[in-house]
Amino acid sequence: MNMDPERDLELAAALRRLEGGALLTEVEQTRIQNAIRIGAREALARRRFAPRTPLEAIGGWWRAALPVAAAAALMLALVQPWHGRSAPEQASARSGLALVVAGEAEEHDVARAIVGSPSEDLWVADTGGNGP
């Protein structure tokens, strides 16, 4: 429901005589529109090239990181010496590997870090052979 009072036309006319009209001339329109166009150019260009979804935003980074991640995963799979062993063995192998990586390992530690303890393997073989 419109509750507005009637426009006061006399007052409006007096104010218009005092303040002038607010209609834009063609020259003013063109001047303002051109200035806005120039001012907006950069912001519009940024909008054109901006990623529109979060997936797009990480797209560039993800594409670059994908081969690196794949290579790292492959390397990990190749050098992982404790695969399929029990937790204490893994801990022991990890600590040996840590020594190797740090360059503080003796020669037998290097071998042990890679293939595990020969005596332990024998023990596994023995018990496996003689078990119930």
């Binding site: 007052l11 409006a12 005589r17 005092l18 002038g20 806005i36 907006a40 940024r46 909008r47």
Partner: protein, 186 residues
């Protein structure tokens, strides 16, 4: 000028968001007249109003991501325009506002008639200047530019009932200043 510009705005705004220059041109073309009118009524000077109108549209482009496309675009835009104009008025401390606009000076009358008209217009201008800023703006936007009380309320962040109350107060005071002038025009 009272009717709200109806346009396929959600689609237009979406295109501007995607950086389409022609869509932005269209948005500017649709609203430039009303934005200029609002800014002019706050600032009183056409040159300043031109500058601020440009600033408004560039600000809108920057803020477009905060606009909710489910709501009508025009009130959002007009509120930005009003705030920008009020800030510009404060920042620039437009002393020229206190002068009688050039358009107020009588032209082409006999010297004594011209003097009488000029005096009366000066009285109206003074009454206008003595109004609180909000009342001055409300009466100009309502009676001069044809905005509704709801539209003005949304621009100034007040209830439409409050707008109408300010309008009546402003009219009363201007009418008193205008009274001798009306006799002259009869």
């Amino acid at each position: 000028m009272g009717e709200v510009v109806e346009a396929p705005e959600p689609a237009l705004v979406a295109r501007v968001r995607a950086g389409e220059s022609s869509a932005f041109d269209e948005l500017v073309r649709l609203h430039m007249g009303r934005v200029f009118a609002i800014v002019l009524r706050v600032l009183g000077q056409r040159e300043d109003a031109e500058d601020v109108t440009q600033e408004v549209f560039l600000a809108v482009l920057g803020k477009l991501d905060t606009y909710d496309p489910r709501r009508p675009f025009a009130p959002w835009l007009y509120r930005i325009a009003t705030n920008r104009a009020l800030n510009a008025r404060k920042a620039r401390q437009l002393r020229r506002m206190d002068e009688i606009p050039e358009s107020a000076r009588a032209k082409g009358d006999e010297p004594d008639v011209a003097t009488a008209k000029a005096e009366e217009r000066e009285r109206l201008a003074r009454a206008l200047q003595e109004l609180p800023e909000r009342q001055r703006l409300i009466v100009k936007l309502f009676d001069l530019e044809g905005f509704s009380s709801v539209e003005i309320g949304s621009m100034l962040g007040m209830a439409d009932g409050t707008v109408r109350w300010h309008l009546l107060k402003a009219r009363e005071r201007l009418r008193r200043a205008l009274a001798p002038m009306e006799e002259w025009h009869r």
